[in-house]
């Protein structure tokens, strides 16, 4: 799977809690909890079933131009990990 050309959406049966510093995602299916840091939380929120990974990168680069190198390298990695953890699904 190429994250940049794939659309992602939130998985079902998740409970989300914003603790301020990070986003906590609880998955009822296997009673597991994930804590997303600020960047991962931002990427997760942008997974709306419409945007491809590349669209998410573009949005973030527009918002944080000084961080473009980091964003381009990290976003695909974050999307892969979110998919592996079962909190987003590729469509």
């Amino acid at each position: 799977m190429d994250p940049l050309s794939t659309c992602f959406q939130h998985q079902q049966q998740l409970e989300v809690e914003d603790t301020g510093d990070e986003l906590l995602i609880y998955r009822t299916g296997d009673d597991s909890t994930y804590y997303l840091n600020g960047t991962a939380a931002l990427v997760w929120r942008l997974c709306d079933g419409q945007r491809r990974g590349a669209d998410i990168v573009d949005l973030l680069v527009d918002a944080y131009p000084d961080e473009s190198v980091t964003i381009r390298s990290q976003v695909p990695e974050i999307l892969r990990e979110l998919t592996e953890r079962g909190v987003v699904a590729s469509i």
């Binding site: 409970e15 989300v16 995602i25 009822t28």
Partner: protein, 386 residues
């Protein structure tokens, strides 16, 4: 027995968060003590007392700083509870609709009503099961409705099950969550010495909506009495969550309750509210009706301390002689706050009557219950699980 008494500041923290809604007065006190709390013990105690979501929520509402790793733990407890509450709410709405379609009157008791009526969101009020009251001659019909909805709903076959005030626990998976339901034909068991069934309901009932479905709960006075009377059991802990329910009812219905009538009908409850105020400072309106000083909660020994004697801890356990004496002492001489709250004693002067009369009578009551109903099996209590 091995659990050491909690630090005094903990009582303040747990008391201040044992309420469904924040008040500025409680928030101010929380801010004042936040630096002195031993936070490491909070998640364990909160879990035992079933107030993990409430602690997290109150601290967030009042923007109280506390260690991040504790916040993570409490947030996880809250998120998990929200998932359970969502499944319970969906299930409750489905059952109430199905009972209505089957022309069976129903009324939601305890957590299934309180979570939606008192709390800002139902995930703040954990519950083991859903309790639904139906007319006493429609228990079997209600059980069949549950079976049609896919519940495993066994009929009462054993003597123990037939003597209960509710049908055996019915269970079903809703999503990934196991939801338990108790269909009651009366609110209290035989030996709690109080009749509350469909034929003795005070009206008007409380209307509310959960999961998009209209449903009803007990009238405020009876709801308050049921929550109080239900926790006056020698064998079961008084949890802070139950105290939060009482605080919520008193504050939510302060302008609706007939206070003089409440005092006449339920004098023990009336006096217990003074002890409640010593644990959780009640709002000014409720204090006004109760004749309590909102700024100065009454002082008494052992505020928030639960009873630790028999039968919470059995003499049959492997105890050394010193521990046996300690258990005996704790059995015969419970904490003042607990005694005043559970027995509804207006002042410390009435405690001698409790220790020599009502407390021993409660042992006899407990013994009779065990003899009549048979031994209580811990494994018989099903909980909502994931």
């Amino acid at each position: 027995m091995s659990e050491s008494p909690m630090h005094a500041h903990h009582y303040s923290l747990y008391g201040l968060v044992s309420a469904p809604r924040p008040t500025e007065a409680r928030g101010q006190r929380l801010r004042e003590l936040a630096n002195d709390v031993c936070w490491e013990r909070v998640p364990d105690i909160a879990t035992k007392q079933r107030i993990g979501p409430l602690i997290y929520w109150h601290l967030r509402e009042h923007d109280i700083p506390y260690p991040n790793h504790i916040r993570r733990t409490l947030a996880a407890i809250f998120a998990r509870q929200k998932a359970i509450a969502a499944a319970q709410t969906e299930t409750l709405a489905e059952i109430i609709a199905a009972l209505r379609d089957a022309a069976i009157d129903s009324l939601v008791l305890k957590g299934g009503a309180l979570a939606h009526i008192l709390y800002p969101e139902p995930g703040l009020r954990p519950m083991e099961d859903l309790d639904i009251l139906v007319p006493s001659n429609q228990g079997e019909a209600a059980r069949e409705v549950l079976c049609d909805l896919g519940f495993h709903a066994p009929a009462p076959i054993t003597r123990y099950a037939r003597l209960q005030h509710h049908l055996p626990v019915a269970q079903r998976m809703t999503g990934n969550i196991l939801v338990s339901v108790e269909v009651h034909t009366t609110a209290f068991n035989l030996l709690m010495a109080h009749e509350l069934s469909f034929s003795s309901l005070q009206r008007p009932l409380v209307d509310y909506v959960a999961g998009g479905e209209a449903m009803q709960a007990l009238a405020p006075e009876q709801m308050l009495w049921m929550q109080y009377h239900g926790l006056r059991k020698l064998a079961e802990p008084v949890r802070f969550l139950q105290l939060a329910d009482l605080v919520g009812l008193v504050e939510r219905y302060a302008d609706v309750l007939d206070w003089p009538q409440l005092r006449r009908d339920y004098p023990d409850l009336w006096h217990a509210l003074t002890a409640l105020h010593a644990f959780t400072p009640l709002g000014g309106n409720a204090c006004g009706h109760l004749g309590l000083d909102a700024e100065r909660p009454p002082s008494m020994r052992g505020i928030g301390e639960d009873y630790r004697g028999w039968p919470r801890h059995g003499f049959t356990q492997k105890l050394n002689p010193r521990e046996r004496w300690q258990l005996l002492a704790e059995t015969l001489h419970p904490p003042e706050w607990w005694a005043r709250f559970v027995y509804g004693i207006p002042s410390a002067r009435g405690l001698s009557g409790v220790f020599f009369h009502r407390h021993p009578a409660a042992f006899i009551h407990q013994g009779l219950r065990r003899l009549y109903l048979g031994p209580v099996s811990r494994g018989a209590f099903f909980k909502t699980e994931i």
